[in-house]
């Protein structure tokens, strides 16, 4: 049996975190959480998740900065990061991709198949 893949969910909104955790656990992933970019980097450096779902606008350290910082580390430079964000304007998409995010999914997520498919694509 292969080990469960680890997904790190980063979001400052507790409700949003809960929704994603619920969905991902149901899909059979092991789920870790962080509530800002700084926590995300700390958790990720220890737990080495397979994919990070990253909110962008967060207190302490935002998702753009966290992704940029991650890309500077040896272990995080190729780690798949999906921006999952209520920042749905175009400028935000560009900024997220520029910061090093692999994919961009706007919130609200209307169909959770998108999350599953995106993660599966990135795990390949």
């Amino acid at each position: 049996m292969t080990a469960k893949k680890k997904i790190l969910v980063v979001d400052d909104n507790e409700d949003n975190r809960e929704i994603l955790v619920f969905r991902l656990q149901q899909l059979g992933f092991e789920v870790l959480v962080a509530s800002n970019g700084k926590e995300a980097i700390e958790t990720a450096s220890q737990a080495k998740p397979d994919v990070i779902l990253m909110d962008l606008r967060m207190p302490v350290m935002d998702g753009w900065e966290a992704t940029r910082a991650l890309r500077q580390t040896e272990w995080g430079k190729d780690l798949p990061v999906v921006a999952v964000t209520a920042h749905a304007m175009e400028e935000d998409r560009r900024k997220a991709l520029n910061a090093g995010c692999n994919e961009f999914i706007p919130k609200p997520v209307m169909d959770y198949a998108i999350i599953r498919e995106t993660i599966q694509r990135l795990l390949r």
Partner: protein, 374 residues
């Protein structure tokens, strides 16, 4: 702040050089002797302000000004006139020049003009930046609670926390449907605002138009079922891969589809996807058997906040933004939107969007071409 970039355009060396000497200590100064050369420099360097001689051989100053303002209305221009030719100066002001000055010019006068023009430019850019940030905030703050609502409702609807009675399911479906509608409204309002403020840019990417159409249709499955609408998609190929802006194409299509469904009380909707390689466009057609629009009302429908029946007792809800956004976004994409309709018979919408060929196909196309050529 960085030094501003100023371009001096004048065919005569005397005034050109003296302006350069005046401005050089305070700004980065570039010079051009002809209108054409000025345009070339503007293509390469982010110029903040242009001083423009009106009387030049080749492209006249007023034409250069017109081109500059078309390209970027935020570039400031100061008109330099030679022989008291007030007419061109006034025309220049009408085109958006900051001010004009007559030769021979006074050093202090020109410096203060340039400074004031740059101040106006900076204030305008700052305002635009604030507006963009404000919009981004509104978008974020409206979407966050909505995404929590939709997230939890869909968890319940997918029965991830237990079974649902029929009645519970029906109620939750209504919550979901209305949340989705609210989201669409928010997106359309924000999209229109970005269009109006000129903050939109193309985000090109390869995607499958067929899948996009199917995805949009799937969002309305439930609604189609309830209204007894039979929707069929006709597409010649399994995949129609193109390079364009998927977000915008999908927003246009979704708005058009939404309208077709909304104004078809029951009956048939046909969606056709067709790619014309020769014309370089993708045609998306939506043909419904709905209530239709009287011929003289079609143009009116493209105005924001217009619906056929604007009264409070009207049958159909909504802000009437869908078609406006569709038309404006289509223009932005360089496409065309054609609507033919007959009251009580139905509406036929044809959306044509130009595209670039997907990379792999382009190779294949080139190869085929080479084979035929050789």
């Amino acid at each position: 702040m960085d030094k501003a970039n100023i371009l001096i355009v004048d065919d005569e060396m005397g005034p050109r050089e003296s302006l350069k000497v005046i401005l050089k200590p305070y700004f980065n100064v570039y010079t051009a002797e002809r209108g054409g050369q000025a345009i070339e420099i503007l293509n390469q360097i982010p110029i903040d302000l242009v001083t423009l001689d009106m009387k030049m051989p080749g492209l006249p100053g007023i034409k250069v000004l017109e081109k500059i303002k078309q390209r970027d209305p935020d570039i400031e221009a100061i008109i330099i006139t030679g022989y008291g030719s007030m007419d061109t100066a006034i025309e220049g002001l009408r085109l958006g020049a900051f001010d004009y000055i007559a030769k021979p010019f006074d050093v202090n006068h020109i410096l203060s003009l340039v400074r004031r023009a740059l101040e106006r430019r900076n204030a305008r850019l700052k305002l635009r930046q604030l507006k963009t940030e404000f919009l981004a905030n509104v978008s974020h703050e409206l979407r966050t609670p909505l995404s929590v609502v939709i997230g939890f409702v869909s968890i319940l609807l997918d029965r991830l926390v237990g079974k649902l009675s029929d009645q519970q399911q029906q109620i939750l479906e209504k919550v979901y449907k209305n949340s989705a509608e609210l989201l669409e409204l928010i997106d359309n309002v924000l999209c229109l605002t970005s269009l109006n403020s000129g903050d939109l840019s193309m985000a090109e990417k390869e995607f499958d138009v067929g899948a996009m159409v199917k995805g949009s249709v799937d969002r309305y499955r439930k609604c189609l079922e309830e209204k007894g609408i039979d929707l069929s998609i006709q597409s010649p190929a399994a995949e129609v891969r193109i390079v364009s802006d998927p977000g915008k194409v999908s927003r246009v299509f979704q708005n058009l589809l939404h309208n077709a469904i909304k104004f078809t009380p029951g009956g048939q909707i046909t969606v056709k996807v067709h790619r014309s390689i020769n014309r370089g466009v993708v045609d998306l057609e939506i043909i419904d058997t709905g209530i239709g629009i009287p011929r003289d009302q079609i143009e009116v429908m493209f105005q924001p906040f217009q619906q056929l029946d604007g009264s409070l007792r009207r049958e159909f809800s909504g802000l009437g933004l869908g078609l406006t956004v569709a038309r404006r976004l289509t223009d932005f994409l360089g496409g065309t939107l054609d609507i033919r309709s007959q009251a009580n018979i139905g509406t036929h919408v044809l959306l044509s969007v130009p595209y670039k060929m997907a990379a792999r196909e382009n190779d294949a196309f080139d190869q085929r071409h080479q084979i035929t050529v050789s």
